[in-house]
């Protein structure tokens, strides 16, 4: 299984592959300076694995479950690459508790029942120690009962709607309040925005996000109001009517959570309708560097995005990460917020396993709270007892070259609050 060609790496030539390994070789020193070289003998398999996981004296098997095909492959490719990079780097450093990580990749094919089937296969048949995977809320919802029933561990990389907390999931992306509130405050304070027009694709994440946004705008921002709230079916490609509605309302801010193929159509048509950054302030919570690839930098330049990570972040961790990523996947590859969150997953898992001294899911779940990662590309992160991450919020302004310029950053780490009081 491990020697199976992974679809993402397939196009790599041998030279590229070698370069990639070189990139990894430089990682250990950077990533884990205080790392003690674990060796398997210190941690006998019988001790670190009491629940019949696929862990041997030399190897630990983990699963990776994303959509390599179907409509979601567009988004999930970055996560697949980042998780693989992290795992390769960890292996290059000697693995986890002296054991190399072997990955079993499964394709969720953008289909939630397939996600459920494959997750069950990974847990029940392959007995993987943990799974890195899922992207959409729907896929996570489909696999969650299975992870809880079979007692597996899922590292979920996407910023999401919250309202969920599970012993069996570590959420390495932001829950909704972490992503939304700072951006709205910033818009209100710095941009003097009073009227907000909320636009989203029609599913749980945008709807919950907009609900939180509306409560915050109406309840916490001074003299502000929501002048429009619109949802469009996933895959919708015609936004001219919506744009006219926006023009009718003349909001100070368009607050957008449009996703997938709709995203591209939305920004191209905004630009064509004369709504550009020079005339209109737009803040989105659904556009990362990955999406800009499809939208085209020229179509979104000047608009703002609220994320916790941008590729352009200026810190040593990130520089090393970007360098390694580009070495592995080509100089033109880009890294978005979710890609970085995906990269965190294996590292957090490794740190947790080492802290717990065991691969057992129960012990990992218990040990996760308080795990710190000083080497994260986004900066310092810490796992909260509720299995979400403390993280900063940042506002980036889109540039024509497809990158974001960070214009604001929350001064403190924001505490994750998946069930925010007063926002439900």
């Amino acid at each position: 299984m491990a020697d199976k060609k992974d679809p993402i790496q397939a196009p790599l030539t041998d030279t590229q592959r070698r370069k990639m390994l070189m990139g990894m070789a430089s990682a250990p020193a950077l990533m884990m300076p205080a790392m003690t070289w674990a060796n398997a003998a210190q941690y006998p398999t019988a001790k670190v694995n009491t629940t019949k996981l696929a862990v041997t004296d030399t190897e630990v098997v983990v699963g990776q479950l994303h959509s390599a095909t179907g409509t979601m492959a567009i988004s999930e490719t970055g996560s697949i690459q980042a998780e693989q990079l992290a795992i390769d780097q960890i292996n290059a450093m000697g693995g986890v508790l002296g054991r190399k990580i072997r990955v079993i990749k499964e394709d969720g094919a953008s289909d939630w029942p397939t996600f459920a089937e494959k997750s069950k296969k990974l847990l029940v048949q392959d007995h993987v120690a943990c799974v890195f995977g899922c992207w959409t809320s729907a896929s996570r919802k489909a696999v969650l009962p299975i992870f809880e029933k079979e007692n597996g561990m899922l590292y979920y990389p996407t910023f999401y709607e919250g309202l969920e907390q599970s012993k069996n999931v570590i959420y390495t992306g932001q829950e909704a309040t972490q992503q939304i509130l700072f951006g709205l405050d910033w818009a209100s304070k710095e941009k003097k925005a009073k009227t907000f027009f909320l636009v989203g694709s029609d599913y749980i994440w945008p709807r919950t996000s907009m609900k939180i946004a509306r409560k915050h705008i109406e309840g916490h921002l001074r003299a502000s109001s929501v002048v429009g709230e619109e949802y469009y079916p996933l895959g919708h490609t015609n936004f001219n009517s919506l744009i006219n509605k926006i023009k009718l309302k003349k909001p100070d801010v368009i607050f957008a959570a449009v996703v997938g193929g709709s995203n591209v159509a939305f920004y191209k048509q905004l630009k064509a309708a004369g709504i550009t950054a020079s005339k209109q302030f737009l803040l989105t919570i659904s556009v990362t560097e990955d999406e800009v690839l499809g939208i085209g930098g020229e179509n979104i330049a000047g608009f703002y995005s609220s994320m916790k990570y941008f590729q352009s972040l200026d810190n040593p961790n990130n520089k090393a990460f970007v360098e390694a990523f580009k070495k592995a996947y080509g100089p033109k590859s880009v890294i978005g917020d979710v890609t970085q969150a995906g990269y965190l997953g294996p590292w957090i898992w490794k740190a947790t396993v080492e802290k717990a001294g065991s691969f057992d899911v129960d012990k990992i779940a218990a040990a996760s709270g308080g795990i710190e990662l000083k080497t994260a590309p986004e900066g310092y992160v810490k796992v909260h007892d509720n299995h979400h991450l403390w993280s900063r919020a940042r506002i980036g302004m889109a540039q024509a070259d497809g990158q974001f310029k960070v214009v604001a950053e929350s001064p403190e780490l924001i505490q994750p609050d998946p069930f925010p009081k007063g926002y439900q």
């Binding site: 990749k105 809320s137 729907a138 919802k141 299975i146």
Partner: protein
Amino acid sequence: MNALKIWIGKSGLGSVLILALIILVVFPLTMDLFRLNLVGKYLTYGFVAVGLVMLWGYGGVLSLGQGVFFGLGGYMMAMFMKLEASDPVTTKIQSTPGIPDFMDWNQITELPFWWEPFRHLPLALIAVLLVPTLLAFIISYAMFKRRVGGVYFAIITQAVALIMTVLIIGQQGYTGGVNGITDLKTMLGWDTREDTAKYILYFVNGGLLIGAILLCRWIQMSKLGTLLLAMRDKEDRVRFSGYDVSMFKVFAFCLAAMLSAIGGAMFTLQVGFMSPSFVGIVPSIEMVIFAAVGGRMSLVGAVYGTLLVNFGKTYFSESFPDLWLFLMAALFIGVVLAFPNGLAGLYESHVKPLFGRRKAKPETTAAPGDGTPHTSTGGKPLSRGAPISGDVQGQSA
């Protein structure tokens, strides 16, 4: 005893018996629970495929919206189980305890009235059977009375599937939206996620499927079956023999819908969630492919086809992750181009002659074609027109 033997031979029950043995004995003995559960899931699609044999193979009407009925059946079951899973104690964290979590997320504070009947299992089960059938009746009555058929019907059913998906996704406060209805646990307190429950559900599912095949077999052997076949080839003749052709098609469509709904309900029970991704166009077309691969004229073949395609999908996607779509594509195109009668057709034209023909005594009531070689030999368009292939074949072995 001899009479029984003849009857079994005549009605093609031998092949049903073999299938029943495979499903109810061979699979459970040879597979671990995980694989068996997968088979159970695939067999729920088998209901759809069997329905399509009746509708498409026999009735000559192709529907690209069977997912609608599969989904509806599944949703009805899921609604019942979701309500049971949403008792006020387990949902006390919500702002309105006692309603399904997704309603709470969508600021709904009261259970919609049309959810109320789903608190009761008998009502839910009746709804599983009747609601999809009723919808099928309305759609098909309007269409067939106006003689919409063939390609048009197929495309209109596609539109229905699309509308249903958009409705379910758009009304997420009431339906769970894109996520579907998830995290289903119990039925009347019985934990459907337990291993024993999985075994029981598998056998119930398998038994129901065999029952469905027998029912369809019985219909095929009745005058109604003869008429369906007759209609497919000489619709006008049937009409001018005094039959209301449209009602026969409506019946076939409703039958297929009801079978699909049973499959959907069994899916929900075995898999533990229902999602709009079953309602749309893609799964509906895939289900047609199951029937096509198995042989559109063969009830048993349809089940084998379903199993084959799904095993293929699972195996290919695990073993050749970057090639599996090509392999599936090749399977579809290959079946259509080279084996229009699917597995059953292959069996009829290639395997069966090897055994020689044991010609039974001709009986006037028997299905036609008594022992004459079939026309189902590969890509000839003619073979599709010929209604006789697969297990319709009465007397030859």
